[in-house]
Symmetry: C2
Subunit: 464 residues, 2 copies
């Protein structure tokens, strides 16, 4: 169904469907929507539309479906696997203007438009003592629509779960322009097939999510954190596996490798971190029992040869978190004119975390690369960023080879090609290895929901 | 596709597919598989098969699909909405013999066959300090296969979630006999469509689940519980809404109405409970902070006019729980020759809990019925059991009318027709009101996964 992107699609019909200038056909505008935050190939769309309401999304989809014009949904554009790149041309459908928020504090829930930015939502929720909890790194840009599309998560998923775990209800527009309500505003239900869960993580290939009702959690009264160093990355990752295996439920447990700390030290002038494998452990509680949990966490770290333990008092966690937050800017600034080639994202069973950390190290040695690792270790989720000279094509290619090797190893270890960034363009080639025959069922779902193949072509499912 | 059940299906082919006597065609055996624990009409199957392994399940389905013979999967048979009744005749496919268990304590997970009984699994997990946590009432009979099929949950879902929230991976046999692995043994993933979530709650209408990899939680070191009475059911349910709205995360929070306590007092000779609306609150923690949480819970109850507070020391909760556990046997024994007509199961947003409790009371008054209510109140889940003389047909009919009214009211309040029992036969007629246009998508999923309509016909989706 996907037409040759270079031929261009006639998208003049959009001006009938959306008024008030919220459609652009000019190349200068389209250029801004040809890429996302990933390294995947840019592709110019033929038009960009910013519908202001669900009915307009439905009108766009209905008209595009009749004409066989590809539609790539987009919200924050902060994706790292190319999910929002209009690979087949056609229309970029931005949900950024759909940004209503209605909070129901008594039900610990909020109903929000797809264009609402994660951090903005949490700012709106704070006066109620509530929070939408997945805890993503790009919260200043990423929107709820994109988070639902990729089943995003981050720092706090180890305690509170992924985006999926907080979705009670979705409003979705189907490929042919029907507006469908899925789920209910309840915390549990056994009433038939969970369409909400089918749309979560489908990256706009099955329908366009316009609104979500999200479950919220209370902001914890107490937060304690510690920065802990270890003799080796294997010791650090074994400490994580042991903590999780002991059923400790931290608010966050982050792994930061020595290479990451080296680039952070080079980046910052005011502080020097020990360049050793490090864990950042944060605990959440509503009572003073948090001190006992902190002591328990420390004892586990001691069992694994802990070299240093620096804990921050309640409410003063910023300095400790800075070590983690600086990682990407520091990596980008590491050597003049160097950059990161990609942000790796794999997840493995927690007991295999030492092995996947080791796989990155081994592949880096084999391929003569410097790779910095961080990760939401409590979930078995590892991120890795090979540092490269972007003008050195062979080096960039080796960085992609490293990514391939680590992803394949993650799948061999019983893990997944992506923990939180989604499949997009970059991880399609691994779906056969990860899903096997289940891929046939996924393809049949796609054909059922989008028979003309207009929704985000070239994403998630590999070509058959 | 569903044939006339009375005509009977030739199931002789089963003897070729399954050997060792694990097939029965005799009416005396089939009679035992004509019903489940519900009040829905019995239907004799033509044969019963007990495959011992996934390959045999695949062989049965493949052969049945070729011949258009209905297959109704069954495991514990403890369902309350008729999900396991072979409404269209044909084959009852019991997964009760598939009962392997492999525990991976380091990954807080277990891989188990569909026939494993919930309580047996938790007994196997206890030495590891772990637990499969949904906390169902029928745990001595219900199996993992049935729990996945209905997305079962119970007492502890308020803290730990439904069955769905613990499913990492499923092995499923499709209608045409393919064996498909869905999901991965990881705690999070963004790798494409969540087929696991589609199969959970589909009651065997999309495929037969043969094995599940379940996430586990640690058994809490400390448990405290309190039995609290209130002046009115509205006060009690407002206390629940307030506790949840304050982001207290109890291990369980159960509502027990005065009628239930009256029948329990009549049933038991050794103890007398105050016949007032009551909450059973249980807290879980791994540290001494549990005492602060208990004090917080008590303060909330005081805000809502609490009449009495009886708390049990750590580890001595049996007496307090007996008030809840006796409810069904006590109700059944209430008047000689009386019985319960059905077990109602609805769920509403927690802020609407007082209204749904009131709806049961109002309908009972209008219909001249005595109805006992209990519920997993922290989830907004209410169960209600009208007490009837089974020989009084008009009275039984009024009990069903009461159920209809309460379910309709729950849907009007933004809730769901079923919180944890599933749709089965009994809740099909409410699916149009609950799901609207989403029902069309569910039907298209069903047609895609089971084009010949052999899987559990007459369940979940209403006739179009």
């Amino acid at each position: 169904m996907v037409s040759d992107a270079d031929s261009g699609y006639d998208c003049g019909f959009l001006d009938e469907v959306i008024t008030d200038g919220r459609v652009a056909h000019a190349e200068s505008v389209c250029e801004q929507y040809a890429s996302d935050a990933s390294v995947h190939p840019e592709q110019l769309p033929d038009a960009v539309a910013w519908p202001a309401a669900t009915e307009e999304v439905a009108a766009v989809l209905s008209a595009a479906d009749e004409r066989g014009v590809p539609v790539t949904p987009r919200s924050g554009g902060s994706g790292l696997e190319g999910s929002a790149i209009p690979s087949a041309g056609g229309i970029v459908l931005s949900t950024a203007e759909i940004e209503h928020v209605e909070v129901s504090p008594d039900d610990l829930q909020a109903t929000v438009g797809a264009g609402v930015v994660y951090d903005d939502l949490n700012e709106r929720l704070a006066p109620h003592g509530l929070r939408f909890a997945p805890g993503i790194s790009s919260g200043d840009v990423a929107t709820i629509g994109g988070m639902v599309a990729t089943n995003a998560s981050g720092f706090n998923a180890v305690r509170y779960g992924e985006t999926r775990d907080h979705i009670r209800r979705l409003e979705v527009v189907t490929a042919d322009g029907r507006v469908v309500e899925c789920g209910s505003e309840v915390v549990k239900t056994s009433a038939g097939y969970s369409l909400t869960d089918l749309f979560v993580g489908s990256e706009g290939t099955l329908g366009v999510v316009t609104e979500a009702t999200l479950g919220l959690v209370g902001i914890p009264e107490h937060r304690r954190a510690a920065l802990v160093t270890f003799p080796s990355r294997v010791d650090a990752s074994r400490a994580v596996a042991d903590a999780i295996g002991s059923a400790l439920v931290p608010g966050a447990i982050e792994f930061i490798d020595a290479t990451s700390l080296k680039v952070i030290n080079a980046y910052r002038e005011d502080v020097t971190f020990a360049e050793r494998p490090t864990l950042l452990i944060e605990l959440h509680a509503n009572n003073s029992g948090i001190e006992e949990d902190l002591a328990f966490a420390k004892a586990i770290c001691e069992d694994h040869g802990m070299r240093s333990w620096e804990s921050a008092p309640d409410g003063e966690l910023d300095e400790i978190w800075q070590a983690r937050r600086d990682k990407y800017p520091a990596t980008r600034a590491y050597r003049q004119e160097w950059d990161i080639a990609l942000v790796g994202d794999v997840v493995v069973p927690i007991s295999r975390y030492p092995e996947i950390v080791d796989a990155v190290s081994q592949a880096s040695d084999d391929l003569d690369l410097v790779t910095a690792c961080v990760g939401h270790a409590g979930d078995g989720n590892l991120h890795f960023t090979p540092l490269v000279d972007p003008d050195d094509e062979a080096m960039v290619e080796r960085a992609h080879e490293l990514n391939d090797r680590v992803v394949q190893r993650a799948i061999e270890l019983g893990g997944s090609a992506t923990g939180e960034h989604g499949v997009g363009i970059g991880k399609r080639k691994f779906m056969e290895a990860e899903h096997g025959q289940a891929l046939d069922l996924m393809r049949s779902v796609k054909e059922t929901f989008d028979p003309n193949g207009i929704l985000n072509p070239g994403k998630v499912l590999p070509d058959a």
